[in-house]
Amino acid sequence: MAIVLVDYHKGNIRSVQRGLQAAGAQVLVSDSPEDVRRAEAVVLPGVGAYRDASDTLQELGLMGALRDACDRGVPFLGICLGMHLMFEGGEEHASASSPAPGLGLLPGVVGRVSPEDAEGRHFKVPHVGWNSVHPAQGAQGSALAQLLFEGIRPGEFFYFTHSFQAPEGEGTIARTRHAQWFPSAVAVPGNPQFGVQFHPEKSSDAGAALLRNFVRIANGERGR
C-alpha cells in the first residue's frame, strides 16, 4: 500500500516524505491526477499562500482528482495549507466575499489568525512555534480521531507556523490557543480524512507518533 504524497510544486515535501517513510509507509510523490485518483491514501502537504495553491491544484488537474479520491473515502491527511484546502475556500490573497476555492470536504472559509484575545491583548501573527494541542470535547467519541492521537498526551506540543486558520465546525477534533482557541486538527465526519494545522514532520517524537497513527489508518485500522 502506497501513500500518494501530492507534490504541487510548492516546496518542502521531503520532510513529510521522510516522516511518512519513517512511519513505515511506502510513499509515492506525485503531481499526477491519475495517481491521486488511484491512490489508496493521500497526504496533501503545503506551505505558502492559499490562492496560489488553489490555482496550482486547478492547473495541474489535481483539484478534481483529490475530490474524486476523497469522495471514495480514501484515508487523507492535509497538513497546514493542505488542511486549509480541505475547506470550501480561503481568504489569503483573495477576500472574504470571494475566497479562493478549496476541496470543500468541510464547510467554511479559512480566515486570518486573530491577533487579539477577548481582553484586547495583542498577540503576534504569524503564530510561530511550539504550542499545545488539546482534544476537543466530543471528539473522544470518534474512534478514528482517537486513533490519530493514540499515544499522544493531551496538551502535547507541536510545531506551528501560520497566519490563517480553519473555521470552527463539527469537524474540529483538537484545538490550540493563541490569542483565541482555533481548530488545530479536523476530521471529515464518518471518513478517515484529517487535517492538522501543525507540522507533524517538524514536531519531533509527537509528530512522528501522529504520522505512524495515520499510516495505521491508511492501512485500514479504524480504531474501536
Binding site: 521531503r14 520532510s15 506551505v47 505558502g48 503576534k124 510561530v128 511550539w130 504550542n131 507540522h199 517538524k202
Partner: protein, 254 residues
C-alpha cells in the same frame, strides 16, 4: 499556550561550521548537520544555518546542506545568507528549508520580501536585521548590511516595520553592539522593534549568562532567543537554557 523558542544558530562556510565548536563526542565538529542533530536531541525549538560563504558559486554546498537537514532533522530550520532573488530562495525551499532569512538583498530591494512572501507565504520569510546604536542617541539604531560592514542610514525600527508590512513573517534582530560581548541582548533595541511590529521577533547577539535568555523575553519582549557560541562551546545545553527560562515563569517546551 505558545511557548518561547530557543534557537541555536550555526554559521556555515562552504558547508562547514565556522566559529569554534567544542562538543564532547562529536564525530565531526565541523559538520553542521551533526551539530544540529545534537541540538534537536536537546529539544531546540528551531535551528538557523547562517551561510557566510562569500561566493555564489559555492552556494551549492548550502543547498546540499538544506537537503541533508530535511532528511535528518525533526525540527524546523531556517537558512540565511546571500539570497538575492526569488529564484535563489526557491532553490533553498525546494531543498527542504522551512524558512529563509534575507538581509542585505532586502535592504537593496525591499520588493524581494514582497515577492518571496507571495510565492512561499509569510511564514517562510524572515527578515534579518543587523542594528547598531546611533552614537549619542540611546533610542535609535541604524541598520547595517554586508555582514555589518556597511551602514545604510535606515532606522532599524522603521525598517522592521516596513519588512513586516511587505510580508516578512518574523524579524531576526541582531545587536551589533552586543554581538560577541557576552553582556546580554540589547533589550532596549529588541523591545523597540517587538513593540513596533505585529510579527514575532527573534533576539540575537550578546548572550553570556543563562539569565540573559529570560531577559531577552521579559525585558526585550522577544518571542524567541537565538545564540551561537554558548551552545557550540557546550557552556549551556538548550535544556539548561529552557529550565532557566521556566524558572522565570516563561512558557517553554521542555
Amino acid at each position: 499556550m505558545l511557548t518561547k523558542r530557543v534557537i541555536p544558530c550555526l554559521d556555515v562556510k562552504d558547508g562547514r561550521v565556522v566559529k569554534g565548536v567544542n562538543f564532547v563526542g562529536l564525530r565531526d565538529a565541523g559538520d553542521p548537520i551533526e551539530l544540529a542533530c545534537r541540538y534537536d536531541a536537546q529539544k531546540a525549538d528551531e535551528v538557523v544555518f547562517l551561510d557566510i560563504t562569500a561566493t555564489s558559486d559555492r552556494r551549492d554546498t548550502t543547498v546540499e546542506l538544506a537537503s541533508r537537514a530535511s532528511e535528518e532533522l525533526h525540527l524546523p530550520y531556517c537558512v540565511g545568507g546571500g539570497f538575492r532573488s526569488v529564484a535563489d530562495i526557491r532553490r533553498m525551499i525546494a531543498a527542504g528549508a522551512d524558512k529563509v532569512s534575507v538581509n542585505s538583498a532586502a535592504v537593496a530591494n525591499p520588493a524581494l520580501i514582497t515577492e518571496a512572501a507571495r510565492a512561499f507565504g509569510t511564514q517562510a520569510i524572515l527578515c534579518a536585521i543587523d542594528a547598531k546604536q546611533v552614537p549619542g542617541n540611546p533610542n535609535k539604531w541604524e541598520v547595517y548590511v554586508a555582514g555589518g560592514r556597511k551602514a545604510t542610514g535606515l532606522d532599524a525600527v522603521e525598517w522592521a516595520v516596513e519588512a513586516a508590512r511587505r510580508g516578512a513573517g518574523e524579524i531576526l534582530l541582531t545587536s551589533m553592539d552586543r554581538d560577541g560581548s557576552r553582556d546580554g541582548f540589547d533589550c532596549a533595541l529588541t523591545r523597540a522593534v517587538a513593540r513596533a511590529v505585529d510579527v514575532p521577533v527573534i533576539a540575537s547577539g550578546g548572550v553570556g549568562k543563562l539569565e540573559h535568555f529570560a531577559q531577552g523575553i521579559l525585558e526585550g519582549e522577544a518571542d524567541a532567543v537565538l545564540a551561537a557560541s554558548v551552545f557550540h562551546f557546550g557552556e549551556f545545553t538548550v535544556r539548561q537554557v529552557k529550565e532557566s527560562m521556566a524558572s522565570y515563569g516563561i512558557p517553554v517546551r521542555l
